[in-house]
Protein backbone atom coordinates (compact mmCIF):
# COMPACT_ATOMS: atom_id res chain seq x y z
CA UNK A 1 0.00 0.00 0.00
CA UNK A 2 2.55 2.56 -1.02
CA UNK A 3 2.82 5.23 -3.66
CA UNK A 4 6.50 5.52 -4.60
CA UNK A 5 7.94 5.43 -1.09
CA UNK A 6 5.05 7.06 0.73
CA UNK A 7 2.44 5.07 2.57
CA UNK A 8 -1.10 5.49 1.22
CA UNK A 9 -2.47 5.91 4.73
CA UNK A 10 -0.05 8.75 5.29
CA UNK A 11 -1.28 10.48 2.13
CA UNK A 12 -4.88 9.92 3.15
CA UNK A 13 -4.25 11.28 6.64
CA UNK A 14 -2.54 14.40 5.34
CA UNK A 15 -5.18 14.93 2.65
CA UNK A 16 -7.92 14.76 5.29
CA UNK A 17 -6.02 17.18 7.48
CA UNK A 18 -5.37 19.64 4.65
CA UNK A 19 -8.99 19.49 3.53
CA UNK A 20 -10.15 20.00 7.09
CA UNK A 21 -7.90 23.00 7.65
CA UNK A 22 -8.84 24.67 4.37
CA UNK A 23 -12.52 24.11 5.10
CA UNK A 24 -12.02 25.47 8.58
CA UNK A 25 -10.20 28.56 7.28
CA UNK A 26 -13.02 29.29 4.85
CA UNK A 27 -15.64 28.74 7.51
CA UNK A 28 -13.91 30.97 10.06
CA UNK A 29 -13.22 33.66 7.45
CA UNK A 30 -16.90 33.57 6.42
CA UNK A 31 -18.08 34.09 9.93
CA UNK A 32 -15.43 36.70 10.66
CA UNK A 33 -17.10 38.87 8.03
CA UNK A 34 -20.36 38.51 9.91
CA UNK A 35 -18.63 39.03 13.25
CA UNK A 36 -17.00 42.16 11.87
CA UNK A 37 -20.36 43.69 11.04
CA UNK A 38 -21.89 42.54 14.30
CA UNK A 39 -19.02 43.95 16.36
CA UNK A 40 -19.17 47.20 14.39
CA UNK A 41 -22.88 47.44 15.04
CA UNK A 42 -22.40 46.66 18.70
CA UNK A 43 -19.66 49.28 19.14
CA UNK A 44 -21.73 51.86 17.28
CA UNK A 45 -24.91 51.02 19.16
CA UNK A 46 -26.72 49.53 16.17
CA UNK A 47 -28.21 46.11 15.51
CA UNK A 48 -26.18 44.93 12.56
CA UNK A 49 -27.30 42.42 9.92
CA UNK A 50 -30.17 40.37 11.33
CA UNK A 51 -32.42 39.49 8.37
CA UNK A 52 -30.92 36.33 6.88
CA UNK A 53 -31.69 33.50 9.29
CA UNK A 54 -31.81 33.74 13.09
CA UNK A 55 -29.57 36.63 14.23
CA UNK A 56 -28.38 36.94 10.63
CA UNK A 57 -26.22 33.81 10.69
CA UNK A 58 -26.86 33.10 7.00
CA UNK A 59 -25.65 36.57 6.03
CA UNK A 60 -22.18 35.37 4.83
CA UNK A 61 -23.84 32.80 2.55
CA UNK A 62 -26.03 35.52 1.09
CA UNK A 63 -23.00 37.77 0.60
CA UNK A 64 -21.03 35.01 -1.08
CA UNK A 65 -23.95 34.18 -3.36
CA UNK A 66 -24.29 37.79 -4.31
CA UNK A 67 -20.61 38.02 -5.21
CA UNK A 68 -20.77 34.84 -7.32
CA UNK A 69 -23.75 36.00 -9.36
CA UNK A 70 -22.57 39.53 -9.99
CA UNK A 71 -21.41 40.51 -13.43
CA UNK A 72 -17.72 39.98 -13.90
CA UNK A 73 -15.86 42.80 -15.58
CA UNK A 74 -12.31 42.53 -16.83
CA UNK A 75 -11.13 45.95 -18.01
CA UNK A 76 -10.13 46.00 -21.69
CA UNK A 77 -6.80 47.71 -21.10
CA UNK A 78 -5.86 45.35 -18.32
CA UNK A 79 -3.53 42.44 -18.59
CA UNK A 80 -5.93 39.50 -18.56
CA UNK A 81 -3.71 36.72 -17.29
CA UNK A 82 -2.13 38.74 -14.51
CA UNK A 83 -5.50 40.26 -13.67
CA UNK A 84 -6.79 36.80 -12.84
CA UNK A 85 -3.54 35.63 -11.28
CA UNK A 86 -3.59 38.45 -8.69
CA UNK A 87 -6.55 37.36 -6.56
CA UNK A 88 -5.61 33.71 -7.04
CA UNK A 89 -2.14 34.36 -5.60
CA UNK A 90 -3.61 36.34 -2.71
CA UNK A 91 -5.85 33.41 -1.85
CA UNK A 92 -3.19 30.72 -2.27
CA UNK A 93 -0.65 32.47 -0.08
CA UNK A 94 -3.30 33.15 2.55
CA UNK A 95 -4.17 29.46 2.73
CA UNK A 96 -0.60 28.12 2.51
CA UNK A 97 0.52 29.60 5.82
CA UNK A 98 -1.72 27.22 7.75
CA UNK A 99 0.50 24.23 6.92
CA UNK A 100 2.90 24.42 9.84
CA UNK A 101 0.55 25.42 12.65
CA UNK A 102 -0.12 22.63 15.16
CA UNK A 103 -3.88 22.68 15.56
CA UNK A 104 -4.25 20.26 18.45
CA UNK A 105 -2.42 17.80 20.65
CA UNK A 106 -1.25 14.78 18.65
CA UNK A 107 -3.80 12.01 18.39
CA UNK A 108 -2.64 8.54 19.39
CA UNK A 109 -4.60 5.70 17.82
CA UNK A 110 -5.31 2.43 19.60
CA UNK A 111 -2.56 0.77 17.64
CA UNK A 112 -0.10 3.27 19.09
CA UNK A 113 0.34 5.37 15.95
CA UNK A 114 0.83 9.04 16.68
CA UNK A 115 -1.00 11.32 14.27
CA UNK A 116 0.16 14.92 14.63
CA UNK A 117 -2.57 17.49 14.05
CA UNK A 118 -0.27 19.49 11.84
CA UNK A 119 0.17 19.21 8.10
CA UNK A 120 3.96 19.46 8.07
CA UNK A 121 6.30 19.74 11.03
CA UNK A 122 9.25 20.92 8.98
CA UNK A 123 12.54 21.91 10.48
CA UNK A 124 12.09 25.50 9.32
CA UNK A 125 8.62 25.85 10.83
CA UNK A 126 7.99 29.49 11.52
CA UNK A 127 10.40 30.72 8.83
CA UNK A 128 8.24 28.97 6.26
CA UNK A 129 5.34 31.13 7.39
CA UNK A 130 7.48 34.20 6.92
CA UNK A 131 8.57 33.20 3.45
CA UNK A 132 4.97 32.63 2.38
CA UNK A 133 3.92 35.96 3.86
CA UNK A 134 6.70 37.71 1.97
CA UNK A 135 5.48 36.12 -1.25
CA UNK A 136 1.94 37.28 -0.42
CA UNK A 137 2.97 40.78 -1.52
CA UNK A 138 2.76 39.67 -5.14
CA UNK A 139 -0.98 39.07 -5.00
CA UNK A 140 -1.47 42.75 -4.27
CA UNK A 141 1.24 44.05 -6.60
CA UNK A 142 0.29 41.97 -9.62
CA UNK A 143 -3.40 42.76 -9.13
CA UNK A 144 -2.75 46.46 -8.78
CA UNK A 145 -0.46 46.65 -11.78
CA UNK A 146 -2.55 44.47 -14.07
CA UNK A 147 -5.62 46.66 -13.54
CA UNK A 148 -3.83 49.37 -15.53
CA UNK A 149 -5.13 52.07 -13.24
CA UNK A 150 -3.05 54.75 -11.55
CA UNK A 151 -4.86 54.55 -8.24
CA UNK A 152 -4.66 50.77 -8.13
CA UNK A 153 -0.93 50.93 -8.84
CA UNK A 154 -0.36 53.53 -6.14
CA UNK A 155 -2.32 51.50 -3.64
CA UNK A 156 -0.52 48.31 -4.60
CA UNK A 157 2.87 49.95 -4.12
CA UNK A 158 1.78 51.34 -0.79
CA UNK A 159 0.55 47.96 0.31
CA UNK A 160 3.67 46.17 -0.82
CA UNK A 161 6.09 48.62 0.79
CA UNK A 162 4.05 48.49 3.99
CA UNK A 163 4.21 44.71 4.09
CA UNK A 164 7.92 44.60 3.29
CA UNK A 165 8.80 47.13 5.97
CA UNK A 166 6.68 45.57 8.70
CA UNK A 167 8.12 42.12 8.08
CA UNK A 168 11.42 43.34 9.55
CA UNK A 169 10.33 44.13 13.14
CA UNK A 170 8.17 41.02 13.02
CA UNK A 171 11.22 38.90 12.27
CA UNK A 172 13.25 40.63 14.98
CA UNK A 173 10.58 39.85 17.60
CA UNK A 174 10.59 36.30 16.40
CA UNK A 175 14.33 36.03 17.07
CA UNK A 176 13.75 36.90 20.73
CA UNK A 177 11.17 34.12 20.94
CA UNK A 178 13.52 31.69 19.26
CA UNK A 179 16.20 32.43 21.87
CA UNK A 180 13.87 30.82 24.38
CA UNK A 181 12.83 27.81 22.35
CA UNK A 182 16.06 27.06 20.55
CA UNK A 183 14.12 25.59 17.66
CA UNK A 184 12.17 26.82 14.68
CA UNK A 185 9.82 23.85 14.74
CA UNK A 186 6.29 24.90 15.61
CA UNK A 187 5.71 21.71 17.60
CA UNK A 188 8.76 22.40 19.76
CA UNK A 189 7.77 26.03 20.28
CA UNK A 190 4.45 24.83 21.67
CA UNK A 191 6.08 22.07 23.73
CA UNK A 192 8.43 24.62 25.27
CA UNK A 193 5.49 26.76 26.33
CA UNK A 194 3.62 23.81 27.78
CA UNK A 195 6.65 23.17 30.00
CA UNK A 196 7.87 26.65 30.91
CA UNK A 197 4.84 28.87 30.64
CA UNK A 198 3.62 31.02 27.80
CA UNK A 199 5.96 33.32 25.95
CA UNK A 200 3.68 36.30 26.51
CA UNK A 201 4.87 36.32 30.14
CA UNK A 202 8.53 36.57 29.12
CA UNK A 203 8.09 38.61 25.97
CA UNK A 204 5.28 41.13 26.48
CA UNK A 205 7.02 43.82 24.43
CA UNK A 206 7.81 41.33 21.71
CA UNK A 207 4.18 40.33 21.53
CA UNK A 208 2.97 43.92 21.24
CA UNK A 209 5.39 44.65 18.40
CA UNK A 210 4.44 41.39 16.71
CA UNK A 211 0.77 42.21 17.03
CA UNK A 212 1.16 45.68 15.54
CA UNK A 213 3.11 44.19 12.65
CA UNK A 214 0.47 41.52 12.16
CA UNK A 215 -2.14 44.27 11.86
CA UNK A 216 -0.02 45.94 9.21
CA UNK A 217 0.65 42.69 7.37
CA UNK A 218 -3.07 41.94 7.12
CA UNK A 219 -3.79 45.51 5.94
CA UNK A 220 -6.16 46.04 8.85
CA UNK A 221 -7.02 49.34 10.46
CA UNK A 222 -5.13 51.44 11.61
CA UNK A 223 -2.84 50.32 8.77
CA UNK A 224 -5.38 49.81 5.99
CA UNK A 225 -3.76 52.41 3.76
CA UNK A 226 -3.95 50.28 0.61
CA UNK A 227 -7.71 50.62 0.94
CA UNK A 228 -7.84 54.31 1.88
CA UNK A 229 -10.88 55.18 -0.18
CA UNK A 230 -10.75 58.93 0.30
CA UNK A 231 -7.21 59.15 -1.13
CA UNK A 232 -7.13 56.26 -3.57
CA UNK A 233 -10.79 55.81 -4.56
CA UNK A 234 -10.89 52.24 -3.32
CA UNK A 235 -7.48 50.61 -3.31
CA UNK A 236 -5.57 48.01 -5.26
CA UNK A 237 -8.73 46.05 -6.00
CA UNK A 238 -10.57 49.00 -7.47
CA UNK A 239 -11.01 47.49 -10.94
CA UNK A 240 -12.10 44.13 -9.61
CA UNK A 241 -15.66 42.97 -9.52
CA UNK A 242 -17.63 39.89 -8.61
CA UNK A 243 -15.84 36.97 -6.97
CA UNK A 244 -12.34 38.26 -7.82
CA UNK A 245 -12.99 41.17 -5.51
CA UNK A 246 -14.47 38.65 -3.11
CA UNK A 247 -11.23 36.66 -3.22
CA UNK A 248 -9.19 39.69 -2.23
CA UNK A 249 -11.49 40.58 0.64
CA UNK A 250 -11.78 36.97 1.69
CA UNK A 251 -8.01 36.45 1.59
CA UNK A 252 -7.72 39.32 4.06
CA UNK A 253 -9.98 37.54 6.52
CA UNK A 254 -8.13 34.25 6.06
CA UNK A 255 -4.89 36.13 6.69
CA UNK A 256 -6.38 37.49 9.89
CA UNK A 257 -7.36 34.00 10.98
CA UNK A 258 -3.96 32.51 10.21
CA UNK A 259 -2.00 35.35 11.76
CA UNK A 260 -4.11 34.99 14.90
CA UNK A 261 -3.27 31.31 14.87
CA UNK A 262 0.45 32.08 14.48
CA UNK A 263 0.36 34.59 17.34
CA UNK A 264 -1.49 32.14 19.57
CA UNK A 265 1.07 29.47 18.77
CA UNK A 266 4.05 31.73 19.34
CA UNK A 267 2.96 33.66 22.40
CA UNK A 268 -0.13 32.09 23.95
CA UNK A 269 0.92 28.46 24.21
CA UNK A 270 -0.84 27.12 21.13
CA UNK A 271 -3.24 24.37 22.14
CA UNK A 272 -2.04 24.35 25.75
CA UNK A 273 -4.78 24.61 28.37
CA UNK A 274 -3.77 27.29 30.88
CA UNK A 275 -3.38 26.76 34.66
CA UNK A 276 -3.96 23.00 34.62
CA UNK A 277 -1.87 19.92 34.06
CA UNK A 278 -4.08 18.16 31.56
CA UNK A 279 -1.86 15.09 31.39
CA UNK A 280 -3.03 14.11 34.88
CA UNK A 281 -6.69 13.93 33.88
CA UNK A 282 -6.25 10.51 32.33
CA UNK A 283 -8.58 11.25 29.41
CA UNK A 284 -8.38 9.24 26.23
CA UNK A 285 -6.28 10.64 23.42
CA UNK A 286 -9.33 11.43 21.32
CA UNK A 287 -10.76 13.73 23.98
CA UNK A 288 -7.41 15.35 24.61
CA UNK A 289 -7.14 16.22 20.92
CA UNK A 290 -10.71 17.51 20.84
CA UNK A 291 -10.29 19.64 23.96
CA UNK A 292 -6.96 21.10 22.88
CA UNK A 293 -8.47 21.94 19.50
CA UNK A 294 -11.37 23.71 21.23
CA UNK A 295 -8.87 25.62 23.38
CA UNK A 296 -6.81 26.86 20.43
CA UNK A 297 -9.98 27.87 18.60
CA UNK A 298 -11.15 29.84 21.64
CA UNK A 299 -7.83 31.67 21.81
CA UNK A 300 -7.92 32.39 18.07
CA UNK A 301 -11.48 33.69 18.31
CA UNK A 302 -10.41 36.08 21.02
CA UNK A 303 -7.50 37.33 18.92
CA UNK A 304 -9.89 37.83 15.99
CA UNK A 305 -12.19 39.81 18.24
CA UNK A 306 -9.26 42.07 19.19
CA UNK A 307 -8.60 42.64 15.47
CA UNK A 308 -12.22 43.70 14.94
CA UNK A 309 -12.28 45.75 18.12
CA UNK A 310 -9.24 47.73 16.99
CA UNK A 311 -10.74 48.32 13.56
CA UNK A 312 -13.75 50.09 15.01
CA UNK A 313 -11.81 52.00 17.65
CA UNK A 314 -8.69 53.48 16.09
CA UNK A 315 -8.62 55.78 13.05
CA UNK A 316 -6.27 55.26 10.12
CA UNK A 317 -2.65 56.44 10.09
CA UNK A 318 -1.22 58.77 7.52
CA UNK A 319 1.28 57.15 5.18
CA UNK A 320 4.38 58.94 6.48
CA UNK A 321 3.28 58.18 10.05
CA UNK A 322 3.03 54.54 9.10
CA UNK A 323 6.56 54.46 7.72
CA UNK A 324 7.94 56.42 10.69
CA UNK A 325 6.32 54.03 13.12
CA UNK A 326 7.65 51.03 11.27
CA UNK A 327 11.23 52.08 10.65
CA UNK A 328 12.02 54.54 13.44
CA UNK A 329 10.09 53.11 16.38
CA UNK A 330 9.26 49.45 15.93
CA UNK A 331 12.59 48.28 14.52
CA UNK A 332 14.74 49.90 17.27
CA UNK A 333 12.29 48.66 19.90
CA UNK A 334 12.43 45.16 18.49
CA UNK A 335 16.24 45.30 18.39
CA UNK A 336 16.38 46.43 22.03
CA UNK A 337 13.96 43.67 22.93
CA UNK A 338 16.15 41.16 21.15
CA UNK A 339 19.36 42.32 22.83
CA UNK A 340 17.79 42.35 26.30
CA UNK A 341 16.41 38.86 25.89
CA UNK A 342 19.76 37.64 24.63
CA UNK A 343 21.53 39.21 27.63
CA UNK A 344 19.06 37.70 30.08
CA UNK A 345 19.38 34.30 28.47
CA UNK A 346 23.16 34.55 28.80
CA UNK A 347 22.93 35.62 32.46
CA UNK A 348 20.64 32.74 33.31
CA UNK A 349 23.01 30.46 31.42
CA UNK A 350 20.32 28.62 29.55
Amino acid sequence: MTLLVIDWWFILEKALLIGGIIGLSFFIAMYTTLAERKVAAWLQDRRGPNRAGPFGIFQPLADGGKLFFKEEIIPLASNKFLFILGPALAMITALLTSTVIPWAAPFVTQGGNVIPMQVADVDMGILLVFSIVSVGVYGIMIGGWASNNKFSLMAAIRGASQMVSYELPMGLCLIAVLFMTGSLKMSEIVANQVQNGWHIIYQPLGFIIFFVCALAECNRTPFDLPEAENELNFGYHQEYSSMKLGFYLFAEYINMFISSAVMVTLFFGGYDIPFVNEASWGLSSFWMTAISFAVIMAKISFMLFVFLWIRWTIPRFRYDQLMNLGWKKLIPLALVNMIISAAVMLLLNK
Binding site: M124, S131, Y138, M141, I157, V164, L184
Partner: protein, 146 residues
Protein backbone atom coordinates in the same frame (compact mmCIF):
# COMPACT_ATOMS: atom_id res chain seq x y z
CA UNK B 1 11.59 33.24 -20.36
CA UNK B 2 13.30 35.93 -18.31
CA UNK B 3 15.33 37.29 -21.20
CA UNK B 4 13.05 36.57 -24.15
CA UNK B 5 10.08 38.60 -22.92
CA UNK B 6 9.65 42.06 -24.38
CA UNK B 7 7.81 43.36 -21.35
CA UNK B 8 10.16 43.96 -18.38
CA UNK B 9 7.41 43.24 -15.84
CA UNK B 10 6.95 39.77 -17.30
CA UNK B 11 10.69 39.27 -17.13
CA UNK B 12 10.69 40.10 -13.42
CA UNK B 13 7.80 37.74 -12.78
CA UNK B 14 9.59 34.93 -14.60
CA UNK B 15 12.71 35.66 -12.61
CA UNK B 16 10.65 35.15 -9.44
CA UNK B 17 9.51 31.79 -10.82
CA UNK B 18 13.19 30.98 -11.44
CA UNK B 19 14.00 31.75 -7.82
CA UNK B 20 11.29 29.36 -6.73
CA UNK B 21 12.80 26.70 -8.94
CA UNK B 22 16.19 27.26 -7.31
CA UNK B 23 14.57 26.94 -3.89
CA UNK B 24 13.04 23.67 -5.04
CA UNK B 25 16.53 22.39 -5.86
CA UNK B 26 17.75 23.39 -2.41
CA UNK B 27 14.91 21.47 -0.83
CA UNK B 28 15.77 18.42 -2.90
CA UNK B 29 19.25 18.65 -1.41
CA UNK B 30 17.65 18.96 2.05
CA UNK B 31 19.06 22.46 2.52
CA UNK B 32 15.85 23.81 3.98
CA UNK B 33 17.30 26.94 5.49
CA UNK B 34 18.91 28.02 2.25
CA UNK B 35 15.69 27.36 0.35
CA UNK B 36 13.52 29.39 2.70
CA UNK B 37 15.97 32.26 2.98
CA UNK B 38 16.26 32.33 -0.80
CA UNK B 39 12.50 32.78 -1.02
CA UNK B 40 12.37 35.40 1.74
CA UNK B 41 15.30 37.51 0.58
CA UNK B 42 15.27 37.20 -3.19
CA UNK B 43 11.70 36.41 -4.14
CA UNK B 44 10.14 38.27 -1.23
CA UNK B 45 12.19 41.43 -0.89
CA UNK B 46 14.61 42.14 -3.70
CA UNK B 47 12.26 41.27 -6.53
CA UNK B 48 9.57 43.45 -4.97
CA UNK B 49 11.93 46.41 -5.28
CA UNK B 50 12.65 45.44 -8.90
CA UNK B 51 8.93 45.38 -9.57
CA UNK B 52 8.49 48.78 -7.91
CA UNK B 53 11.04 50.42 -10.12
CA UNK B 54 9.85 48.80 -13.33
CA UNK B 55 6.18 49.41 -12.67
CA UNK B 56 6.80 53.05 -11.85
CA UNK B 57 8.99 53.64 -14.90
CA UNK B 58 6.26 52.15 -17.08
CA UNK B 59 8.59 50.91 -19.79
CA UNK B 60 7.08 49.90 -23.10
CA UNK B 61 8.14 49.24 -26.65
CA UNK B 62 8.28 52.85 -27.82
CA UNK B 63 10.73 53.93 -25.16
CA UNK B 64 13.01 50.96 -25.64
CA UNK B 65 16.31 52.06 -27.18
CA UNK B 66 17.16 50.46 -30.52
CA UNK B 67 20.54 48.80 -30.46
CA UNK B 68 22.59 48.89 -33.62
CA UNK B 69 23.46 45.83 -35.61
CA UNK B 70 27.17 45.66 -34.73
CA UNK B 71 26.39 45.67 -31.05
CA UNK B 72 23.97 42.78 -31.53
CA UNK B 73 26.50 40.81 -33.50
CA UNK B 74 29.18 41.42 -30.88
CA UNK B 75 26.76 40.23 -28.20
CA UNK B 76 25.99 37.04 -30.10
CA UNK B 77 29.68 36.27 -30.62
CA UNK B 78 30.54 36.93 -26.97
CA UNK B 79 27.68 34.73 -25.79
CA UNK B 80 28.71 31.98 -28.18
CA UNK B 81 32.27 32.08 -26.88
CA UNK B 82 31.06 31.79 -23.30
CA UNK B 83 28.94 28.78 -24.26
CA UNK B 84 31.93 27.20 -25.98
CA UNK B 85 34.15 27.66 -22.95
CA UNK B 86 31.51 26.26 -20.60
CA UNK B 87 30.88 23.22 -22.76
CA UNK B 88 34.61 22.61 -23.12
CA UNK B 89 35.14 22.89 -19.38
CA UNK B 90 32.25 20.62 -18.41
CA UNK B 91 32.69 18.03 -21.16
CA UNK B 92 35.21 15.90 -19.35
CA UNK B 93 33.76 15.99 -15.86
CA UNK B 94 32.41 12.75 -14.52
CA UNK B 95 29.27 14.17 -12.94
CA UNK B 96 27.09 12.87 -15.74
CA UNK B 97 27.72 9.31 -14.66
CA UNK B 98 26.63 9.92 -11.09
CA UNK B 99 23.07 10.63 -10.09
CA UNK B 100 22.70 13.59 -7.82
CA UNK B 101 22.20 12.50 -4.25
CA UNK B 102 18.90 13.88 -3.10
CA UNK B 103 17.40 14.30 0.30
CA UNK B 104 20.53 13.12 2.04
CA UNK B 105 22.70 14.74 4.65
CA UNK B 106 21.68 17.04 7.43
CA UNK B 107 24.18 19.83 6.83
CA UNK B 108 21.46 22.09 5.44
CA UNK B 109 19.33 21.90 8.58
CA UNK B 110 19.46 25.03 10.64
CA UNK B 111 21.17 23.61 13.73
CA UNK B 112 24.16 22.22 11.84
CA UNK B 113 24.36 25.22 9.58
CA UNK B 114 24.45 27.64 12.51
CA UNK B 115 27.12 25.63 14.30
CA UNK B 116 29.31 25.52 11.21
CA UNK B 117 28.86 29.23 10.53
CA UNK B 118 29.76 30.31 14.04
CA UNK B 119 32.68 27.96 14.63
CA UNK B 120 34.52 26.89 11.48
CA UNK B 121 33.53 29.79 9.26
CA UNK B 122 33.14 32.56 11.81
CA UNK B 123 35.72 34.93 10.24
CA UNK B 124 34.27 35.00 6.70
CA UNK B 125 30.82 35.26 8.25
CA UNK B 126 31.74 38.34 10.26
CA UNK B 127 33.55 39.91 7.31
CA UNK B 128 30.47 39.53 5.13
CA UNK B 129 28.35 41.08 7.87
CA UNK B 130 30.72 44.07 7.93
CA UNK B 131 30.28 44.30 4.16
CA UNK B 132 26.53 44.51 4.64
CA UNK B 133 26.94 47.14 7.33
CA UNK B 134 29.08 49.29 5.06
CA UNK B 135 26.52 48.91 2.28
CA UNK B 136 23.81 50.07 4.68
CA UNK B 137 25.86 53.08 5.79
CA UNK B 138 26.54 53.92 2.15
CA UNK B 139 22.83 53.82 1.32
CA UNK B 140 22.06 56.15 4.21
CA UNK B 141 24.77 58.59 3.13
CA UNK B 142 23.49 58.65 -0.45
CA UNK B 143 19.94 59.11 0.78
CA UNK B 144 20.95 62.00 3.05
CA UNK B 145 22.41 64.11 0.26
CA UNK B 146 19.12 64.92 -1.40
Amino acid sequence: MVITNKNPVYSVLWLIVTFFAISGHYILLNAQFLAIVNVIVYAGAIMVLFLFVIMLMNLNKETEPQKNRWLRMAGAIAGGCLLLVLVAALKDTHTKQQLAMTNGGNIGLIKNLGKELFTTYVVPFEISSILFLSAMVGAVVIGKKE
